[in-house]
């Protein structure tokens, strides 16, 4: 458990160092994500790596535990918003309306594009066969 958490933190730390060092415009944890993914894939290729948190579902279980409660992690930031509702009130209903419509339009455009592209791909794949 502790070894698995350490591995996750180590990946994040490496990601932060990488991002800060090269002043890249992306969050450090995203690089950490890629690093952990590479480690998991490498473990399947090279059995030498399958030790400590990388064996017996160690890091997998720790990660599942974190992700099972992902919603909880947004509560502190969310409470900050409740304290700043005056900022929203200042710009009135237009502010909320703009956000709501933009969210709906974005959901629709993305999902329709995804479904259409995957159908086109499936059809293209069949016609080649």
């Amino acid at each position: 458990m502790i070894a698995s958490l350490s591995l996750i933190l180590l990946c994040q730390l490496a990601g932060e160092i990488f991002v800060r060092g090269l002043t890249l415009p992306m969050p450090g944890p995203v690089i950490g994500l890629m690093l952990l993914l590479v480690l998991l894939l490498a473990r399947d290729r090279f059995p030498v790596l399958a030790r400590g948190p990388l064996q017996g579902d160690g890091v997998e279980n720790a990660s599942r535990g974190l992700l099972a409660n992902l919603s909880l992690l947004f509560v502190p930031a969310g409470v900050g918003v409740v304290q700043k509702l005056d900022l929203v009130a200042e710009h009135g209903i237009a502010f909320l309306g703009v956000l709501a419509i933009s969210v709906l339009v974005t959901l629709l455009v993305t999902v329709v594009t995804f479904v259409a592209a995957s159908r086109l791909m499936a059809r293209g794949g069949n016609s080649h066969e």
């Binding site: 415009p25 992306m26 994500l33 993914l37 990660s63 992700l67 919603s71 974005t106 999902v111």
Partner: protein, 240 residues
């Protein structure tokens, strides 16, 4: 002896213990209600935890800084949780690898729509220029969005508010919207909510379906990259 309860309150309200406990307890209750309603979209545990704790802070006159002293331990885990997304990604790598093309096309369409729609709508609604700029990056995770906002000389705290509200709205609307449209492809549903509503949408996706969660996590990460390049461009082309 009379001032004892008060001095106890003064002591506890300044210690991280009280606010960490309050955060976990309120969330545990909100999550139990959410489970009890079989994850009804309106029983969103983030939404209900934040207003209950927010109201409690207002009633007790507690500052957000004091509250955050306790809640920071929970907030800190956002980074490790992002790294942990590698595990479901690894476990579903075959499904993900076979969907690279639809993901890239949907990423392009979704990121552009997320930024362009909010900039155009906010202008049409007559919101001031500073507000429009602050809203532009609202579909990406708070840390990245605030960075973008800062680089545009907009208001990062207004951006943070817009980001959280966007996440909650996406998490609440995604299930009824997709059901009504008859979309049963959970890869597409997850990807859409990850683009539109970042981490809060991703948390919702994991509650509904594991594959949806994986695709939401990928969408959120990719959108953070694309949006930080896209917003400065969009501002140049769309703002007059």
């Amino acid at each position: 002896m009379n001032d004892n309860p008060f001095s106890l309150w003064v002591y506890l309200s300044q210690s991280p213990l009280l606010w960490l406990t309050a955060t976990l307890l309120v969330y545990a209750m909100a999550d139990a209600v959410s489970l009890g309603t079989r994850r009804h979209p309106l029983a969103n545990p983030v939404l209900h935890s934040m207003w209950i704790i927010g109201a409690f802070l207002l009633l007790t006159g507690t500052s957000y800084t004091t509250y955050f002293g306790g809640a920071q331990f929970v907030h800190f885990l956002l980074g490790p949780a992002t790294v942990a997304l590698a595990v479901p990604l690894y476990e579903n790598r075959k499904v993900v690898a076979s969907a690279i093309l639809p993901m890239l096309v949907a990423l392009a369409a979704g990121s552009v729509t997320a930024v362009a729609s909010v900039v155009l709508l906010a202008q049409a609604a007559g919101l001031p220029r500073a507000v429009v700029l602050s809203l532009a990056p609202k579909s990406v995770t708070a840390g990245v969005a605030m960075g973008i906002s800062e680089s545009l000389h907009a208001d990062p705290s207004l951006t943070a508010v817009a980001v959280i509200l966007t996440g909650i709205m996406g998490a609440i609307t995604v299930t009824p919207l997709m059901n009504r449209m008859g979309i049963t492809d959970f890869r597409a549903r997850g990807f859409a909510v990850g683009i539109a509503a970042h981490g809060i949408g991703t948390a919702r996706a994991f509650q509904v379906d594991a594959v949806a969660g994986v695709f939401a996590g990928i969408a959120m990460s990719l959108n953070a990259l694309v949006t930080s390049l896209l917003v400065p461009l969009a501002v140049t082309f769309l703002l007059h």
